[in-house]
Amino acid sequence: MNNYKKWFPIFVGPILLAFLMVVIIPMIVGIYFSFTDWNGITNTPNWVGIENYIKAFSDEKFGDAFKFTASFAVVSVFTINIIGFGLALLVTKKMKISNFLRSIFFMPNLIGGIILGFVWQFIFTKGFASLGSIFGWSFLEGWLSTTATGFWGLVILMSWQMSGYMMIIYIAAIQSIPDSLIEASQIDGANGLQKLRHIILPLVAPAFTVGIFLSLSNSFKLFDQNLALTGGGPYDSTQMLALNIYKTAFTMNKLGLAQAKAVVFLLAVAVITVTQLYYSKKREVEM
């Protein structure tokens, strides 16, 4: 036992140093900076109290970004998990091509958000418009030029990208259901829907906790896709929180204000994810 302790600094030290310098110290310094008029140039910013927080909360664009992010997160958590679960049900059926289908559905996940944002920018602005003129569907024209199409564009992009990831999680859960349970329900005469409702859904509930947790925190923190697909436009109306913080810091050069927004952002992310985990865990037990 003593022997382990002697080596403790060598084994834990290097990564702890990186962790402290990259995460913990910046976090603490960041909270301090959020109470100052820090502009990134002078190293001795002045204490301004809660002024940045007052500015953050009275900043209309920040409020709009908050609402946009929250609605986006709610909608995309639904679409991502429903599509992901549906795909998982489909590819766990016995068929020769199920491995091939899994590979296809999962693939968008590997490609980076910036690249995917540009890919879908082309699809929405050029592809949709072209389909629209072929079939005479006017709702396919002018995508990404309005707030609503920007919103649904982001939802489509994220559902396309993330539902394959959720599928993988749900496949593992569905496959861990004992065959005997399914067979017993079939002998009892349960139809497909009853099997889904009374056997599969309750047993994959823990996987839903993971799936909702991952998609919620990913949607809330979304940055790359937002930047590459709409850039926040038109008129910052599709700007999400992470992009708003980024622009406050680097376009407006108000680093103190950006840092105050980042602290609010941190609290929001923490509250949402912890609450969601708490309620899902509770529900799992009840089911």
Binding site: F8, V12, P26, V29, F100, P108, I111
Partner: protein, 275 residues
């Protein structure tokens, strides 16, 4: 019986239709990358043919992306970061499991809680601090990925190591191994399954990461693929023929990686999300 047969056809047919819808966006990007500017303007949905077909988008996009260099920049940063994360996270996790002190419990708790911190909350002071100590370069970036990747990787290793019996190590101590040798010769080889998971998760994240390199890397010759693509797109957003060829080139390495490492990737995702 008729019902059964119907199912045998309908399910795969539904699956293939959905797969086609999933692939469609990438298919459109690919076909249009072989069209001239006018070809894209005239018809997005059609195949490239005749006077609208061209191969010239690719050499130009390849050159503009400085692709060989940006590929190796991405590779160096991704592989370097993943290696240091594996080495130091596995060492630390093992020590944290084996020493049952208040300090190790607190440190593990700290690593776990930090998972909740979004990058935006630390990015401004981080870049400021790293700038002051001269870390705004590829090696500094690797150091930052070590810090940012530490939480998840330590949690995954910690969960795995808990199930390895300590008796193995006791036998090695009797044989005269020191702690360093015990870890590298006895424990680390046993960690292989979780090491694969940790590598996959870190590679996928670091390879595609955009914001941190954008803040840290200030020289064009150090830029990674996502970074180069972002600036390239900014210049050519009105010239879709070049932008699309650039997008296809940027996606090629990860797609090849996926084809070869698919099984590990899917297993890595499953293991990584359950814990």
């Amino acid at each position: 019986m008729v019902e059964e047969k119907k199912k045998k056809i309908i399910t795969p047919a539904l699956g293939l239709t959905l797969a086609a819808i999933f692939i469609l966006p990438l298919y459109i990007i690919l076909t249009n990358s072989f069209k001239t500017q006018k070809g894209i303007f005239m018809n997005v949905m059609g195949l490239p043919f005749g006077e609208f077909f061209t191969l010239e988008n690719y050499p130009e996009a390849f050159e503009q992306l400085d692709f060989i260099r940006s590929f190796f920049n991405s590779l160096f940063i991704t592989v370097g970061s993943t290696l240091v994360i594996i080495i130091f996270a596995s060492m630390a996790a093992w020590m944290l499991v084996r020493t049952k002190t208040k300090v190790s419990a607190f440190l593990f708790f700290l690593f776990a809680v930090a998972m909740l911190i979004p990058f935006q909350a630390v990015m401004l002071p981080l870049v400021n601090l790293m700038g002051r100590i001269g870390f705004l370069n590829p090696l500094g970036l690797i150091f930052m990925y070590l810090g940012l990747g530490s939480s998840l990787s330590i949690i995954l290793y910690h969960g795995f190591i808990k199930n390895i019996p300590v008796e193995l190590e006791e036998a090695a101590i009797i044989d005269g191994c020191n702690t360093f040798q015990i870890f590298w010769y006895i424990i680390f080889p046993l960690l292989k399954p979780i090491t694969v998971t940790v590598s996959i998760l870190n590679v996928m994240w670091i390879w595609n990461d955009f914001l941190l390199p954008q803040l840290v890397i200030n020289r064009p010759e150090w830029q990674t693929i996502p970074l180069k693509m972002f600036y390239f797109f900014g210049q050519y957003s009105k010239k879709w023929h070049l932008a699309l060829a650039g997008l296809v080139i940027s996606m090629v390495p990860i797609v090849i990686f996926y084809i070869f490492a698919q099984k590990h990737i899917i297993k890595g995702i499953t293991d990584g999300s359950i814990k």
